[in-house]
């Protein structure tokens, strides 16, 4: 009996610390998940449009709407307690003038009124792969808050554009 109690006590101490303490992680949020899954196809379609000549004139308003929706998704994630990582990922997805969505939008906006201008097809193709990955990262994070699950999209190499 004494041996049993000794064996258990150390283990119990560690477990009780874990069982009793709160783990600072937000619960799964259906709306946050849907924000990512619904904005992903919209963003990818917009990236495709950016390689059409004169597309800036035609789609700059739609792009602005998309960027507002992305900002709203970030604000929503940022408003959830213990959701720092998810909110930071949304912020990174939006980026700034030198990276991610805003970086790509800045290059596209340089076309201005030029009806022949477009983002180079090579950039659009490559950036689409990266944007897909960024959304998949956000989706994977949210899904794992509900249930530990494998993120196939993040462990399948897509370096060659697959």
């Amino acid at each position: 009996m004494n041996r049993t109690v000794t064996r258990l006590s150390g283990w119990l101490l560690g477990c009780c610390l874990l069982v009793g303490c709160a783990i600072p992680l937000a619960n799964y949020d259906q709306r946050a998940y849907e924000n990512a899954t619904s904005l992903k196809p919209l963003a990818l379609a917009m990236i495709d449009r950016s390689m059409q000549r004169g597309s800036w004139l035609q789609y700059n308003r739609a792009l602005e709407d998309l960027l507002v929706q992305l900002a709203a998704a970030y604000e929503y994630a940022n408003g959830i307690e213990y959701n720092n990582e998810a909110a930071a990922n949304w912020k990174d997805l939006i980026g700034d003038e030198e990276r991610m969505m805003l970086g790509w939008a800045t290059l596209w906006s340089n076309c201005g009124d030029d009806t022949e201008c477009r983002v180079s097809p090579a950039l659009a193709t490559e950036y689409k792969i990266q944007a897909t990955e960024a959304f998949d990262i956000i989706i994977c994070l949210e899904a794992n808050k509900r249930q530990l699950s494998r993120c196939e999209a993040l462990t399948r190499p897509t370096g060659a554009g697959g």
Binding site: W11, L18, E85, D92, R99, G103, A122, Y127, I129, G161
Partner: protein
């Protein structure tokens, strides 16, 4: 062995199995997520450099893609951190179940 000894043995055995299952899976998943990023980065950088030399990518576009790749690495790191936290929470919840289920089973015969 007393009922209490049996209870302790059951809890310890199931607890150890739970640790192995939960944290091994999490460690492997996190490693795979990060290694895939390294593989992707190497292949993409190689391809972008060729596109830059061919003039199909402008220098500012090349720079954007490289910046993005760094950002994606940071995003992946955060996701693995959350997977770790989720695994700890999952372990905690299942451990509670093991303590309670075994208590009912050994002391109340349910």
């Amino acid at each position: 062995m007393s009922t209490f000894d049996n209870y302790v043995d059951s809890v310890l055995t199931q607890g150890r199995a739970l640790i192995a299952a939960t944290f091994t899976q999490t460690r492997d998943e996190s490693r795979a997520i990060f290694e895939t990023h390294l593989t992707n980065s190497r292949e993409r950088l190689d391809r972008w450099t060729k596109l830059l030399v061919l003039g199909e990518l402008r220098p500012e576009e090349f720079k954007l893609l490289v910046n993005n790749q760094v950002t994606l690495g940071r995003m992946r790191m955060r996701t693995t951190k959350v997977i770790g936290k989720a695994a700890a929470r999952d372990f905690r919840d299942k451990l509670r179940g093991i303590f309670i289920d075994n208590a009912f089973s050994h002391f109340l015969g349910l």
